[in-house]
């Protein structure tokens, strides 16, 4: 069964450093998303991406964040200068023509 994959599973970084989180969505999907989940809290929408551009972003998704689909399979989230409060689980999701979004296993980001 096709699934969304994410790398790395864990990432530890120093405050102010750049990180890139990678996702491989399900191959025939066209809609891509990033969500995050701070420990013990609910999952929050960050950004949606379709047709090679951002279709919506939340208030969390400020200028420090960017997304890219560099090739036909990867979808990345970049945080340019990490802050302590960026520590969270980051989930990628993808959706085809049906309505259901399927989530990856997540990347646990810890900013020190």
């Amino acid at each position: 069964e096709p699934e969304v994959t994410q790398t790395p599973s864990h990432q530890v970084t120093q405050m102010g450093q750049e990180v890139i989180l990678r996702c491989v969505p399900i191959s025939n999907h066209l809609y891509f998303y990033w969500y995050r989940q701070i420990l013990g809290q609910k999952v929050e929408f960050l950004v949606s991406f379709y047709n090679n551009e951002i279709s919506e972003k939340s208030e969390i998704f400020d200028d420090q964040f960017s997304v890219e689909r560099p090739d036909g399979s990867n979808f990345t989230l970049k945080i340019r200068s990490t802050k302590l409060e960026d520590s969270a689980m980051y989930f990628c999701a993808s959706k085809g023509n049906q309505e259901t979004q399927y989530f990856g296993p997540g990347t646990r980001l810890l900013v020190l």
Binding site: Y33, K42, V43, E44, Y50, E99, F103, G106
Partner: protein, 113 residues
């Protein structure tokens, strides 16, 4: 404002019993709802969904009920098993160009053997 919330943060049941997890939503314009299961350290896993033109949908051991009058959603799990122990989230899909999901706060289901 828009919000999706859960009535019970923790639900403890005995193995073999039926579980009912509840969720309230506030956006009457939402027309698609999903239940996800999240095990520790993993991503949300799709369980079952329902459109607003339905009031009940059944899967394998799970049933979702939708009451649009009171904007209430529930997940029923029959014959709960230890493997059902997880956090359960309801999510509301916002119709539009992006179809982003708005998640509730989650209910921890603890199945006692």
């Amino acid at each position: 404002g828009e919000s999706v919330g859960l009535h019970l943060p923790t639900l403890s049941v005995q193995e073999g019993d039926n579980s009912i997890i509840n969720c309230a939503y506030s956006n009457s314009a939402s027309d698609y709802f999903i239940w996800y299961k999240q095990e520790s350290g993993k991503g949300p896993q799709f369980i079952i969904d329902i459109r607003s033109n339905m009031d009940k949908r059944q899967g394998q051991r799970v049933t979702v009920l939708l009451n649009k009058t009171v904007k209430h959603l529930s997940l029923q799990i029959a014959a709960t098993q230890p493997g059902d122990s997880a956090v359960y989230f309801c999510a509301e899909e916002m119709r539009g160009a992006t179809n982003k999901l708005i998640f509730g706060t989650g209910t921890l289901l603890a199945v006692q053997p």
